[in-house]
Amino acid sequence: MVEVKELTKRFNNLTAVDRISFEARPGEIFGLLGENGAGKTTTLRILATVLSPTSGDAVVNGFSVTREAQKVRASIGFVSSDAGLYDRLTARENVAYFGRLHGLTETAIRERIENAFSWLDMKEFADRRVGKFSKGMKQKVCIARALVHDPPVMFLDEPTAGLDVTAIHAVDEFILRAKREGKTIIFSSHIMSEVEKLCDRVAIIHRGALIAAGTMDELKAKRERFEDVFLRLIGGQNQ
């Protein structure tokens, strides 16, 4: 469960996130749809406690991001588009490092890795250094890393950006699997078809503010209210 209340983030004079509120429930994929620079990444970073909000709060898995950051961190998995991994470590070592930082025992880490690597189809390159991996392989490692402590909440910041079709399929599979396991998933994208394909409910973010939220059908029904953004996002889909 994620409850976002009047979340605001200002950088100097720029209001990157402007009093955003929404709610995402367990077993639900919640989409954040918006252009690049709309404030999606900043919102997710605040939810993941990487940034702290200027005002407002969010409750993640029952913990406040402003007051109980460590407990929030123990409850979340974060996957972003620019797969950051330690190139000189193997896929297994990259994931195990995060497992240890999450306080898991070595046995638990081994089990989690075996499990995740097998359904992500990564066994073949599990013990190779990630430096020379393709973007798709790297993203699989990032996913395994985000899942190592079996968090109830997942934040996915444009997780398919720059991936090829096969890799996108693998990421979609992972997202649907997490949904079946009852995790709360917040997924950001600037491509409407992608959001439409996966998300149960969607919030459209424009210049830091949430301008509409609901199911895809509901949003389509009242598109006249935010026509500009909507059209541009549809345009993005055709590129």
Binding site: T49, L51, Q70, S80, D82, Y86, R88, L89, Y97, L101
Partner: protein, 400 residues
């Protein structure tokens, strides 16, 4: 909220960063190859080449020109009999420039007449002071000319019935009381402190850049900040890796130096080899001082690296550190520890370099060691605080 240091977390970060660092080829270069190769090259081979040249000039005949040789048969005969020179036939005007000869002796037309009439014979010796070897040959020529001059004086005195020893009222013997060991210690006291400071500063450089700026550049920092570990614990784990890397480099440079010293002893003068020994306690204290230097540089490097946007920027900011190290060394290189004011031991880096110099020279001054350790610890804590604070600041973590 995330200020405390959890040692278990710091240890996890440390072991990961250590194995990551060890797999980096650049680390091996900066931490092991350079210290073990450059040190002997710089300190042992360099002076050796100069010594070898001096020995070469002393042992072998040197090419010289006597301009107007036909006018000075006595001198030419003496020079040849000395067995130290090859008298070459070359144009005296260009011989030095063309390096056909290393020294030219110009003899005046009335040379033999002046000798016979017991008037000073004007001899001009030309050499190239910008050419090391030419200067050495000039010294050799001057020695032989002085001997020639003395031989003439002796002959003249004897002709008048005087004993030549009346010209030697003092029979002087100079004795160097410094034991051979102390000479070696002085020599090492000049070179080793700089080496240690240099490796303490540069040995952890790549690790520092990699664990902070590198983490930003690779995009791993964002994920790392989502784990339930305090940022101070992250900073401490990373800091320890930098300290260890720089200590390893410093230790390896010492080992490289010791090995090179054994294999090919240094001579400060031909035929005089420098010898040197250290007690285990000295070595222990030296490593303690090296640790303070490493700890200080590591804290500075991690702070700067945390502040930088990426690898390149960190490298640009940190490269001058190598030069900063040299300053205290230049200031104290030729100073005996006895002449150093005690406040030097309170200045960062300076104190390490000085304490090091004392220890290498076999001086154990508890007050100096105490000041060095206490003040270094203070500086390390300040620098670490700063690094830790930077790790808390969003504007620094996400500078782009």
């Amino acid at each position: 909220m995330s200020r405390g240091i959890n040692l278990r977390h710091a240890w996890i970060v440390f072991t990961k960063e250590l194995s990551d660092t060890i797999r980096d080829r650049r680390t091996w270069w900066a931490m092991i190859i350079l210290p073990i190769v450059i040190v002997p090259l710089m300190t042992l081979i360099g002076p050796r080449a100069a010594i070898k040249q001096a020995e070469d000039v002393q042992r072998n005949k040197s090419d010289i020109v006597v301009a107007g040789a036909e006018r000075a048969p006595t001198l030419v005969q003496y020079l040849e009999a000395s067995g130290q020179f090859n008298l070459v036939a070359a144009d005296p005007a260009t011989a030095l420039k063309d390096r056909k000869a290393l020294t030219v002796i110009h003899v005046p037309a009335d040379f033999e007449d002046s000798l016979r009439q017991e008037k000073p014979a004007q001899v001009r010796v030309a050499f190239d002071a910008s050419d090391n070897k030419s200067s050495m040959v000039e010294e050799k020529v001057a020695r032989v000319l002085t001997m020639f001059s003395q031989a003439v004086v002796t002959a003249r005195l004897q002709a008048r019935g005087y004993d030549p020893t009346i010209l030697t009222p003092l029979a002087m013997n100079f004795e160097n009381v410094a034991p051979k060991e102390q000479m070696g210690a002085t020599f090492l006291g000049m070179i080793l402190p700089m080496l240690m400071a240099m490796w303490a500063a540069t040995g952890g450089l790549y690790a520092a850049i990699d664990v902070a700026a590198g983490e930003k550049e690779r995009g791993t920092l964002e994920a790392l900040l989502t784990v339930p570990v305090s940022r101070m614990s992250l900073a401490v784990g990373k800091y320890l890796v930098v300290v260890v890397s720089s200590l390893i480099a410093a230790a390896i440079s010492l080992v490289g130096f010791a090995v090179a010293f054994r294999v090919a002893p240094v001579s400060l003068q031909p035929g005089q080899e420098v010898t040197f020994t250290m007690t285990a306690a000295q070595v222990g204290l030296i490593f303690l001082v090296a640790l303070t230097l490493s700890a200080f540089f590591a804290a500075i490097e991690l702070t700067v690296s945390s502040f930088a946007r990426g690898f390149r920027e960190a490298q640009t900011y940190l490269t001058p550190i190598t030069f900063i190290v040299i300053i205290p060394w230049i200031l104290t290189e030729f100073t005996s520890p006895a002449d150093i004011p005690s406040w030097y031991y309170m200045v960062p880096v300076m104190n390490g370099v000085m304490a090091f110099k004392e220890l290498v020279m076999g001086i154990v001054n508890p007050a100096h060691i105490r000041d060095t350790l206490v003040f270094s610890a203070i500086y390390v804590v300040i620098a670490l605080r700063l690094a830790g604070r930077l790790f808390q600041r969003e504007s620094v973590l996400f500078r782009s």
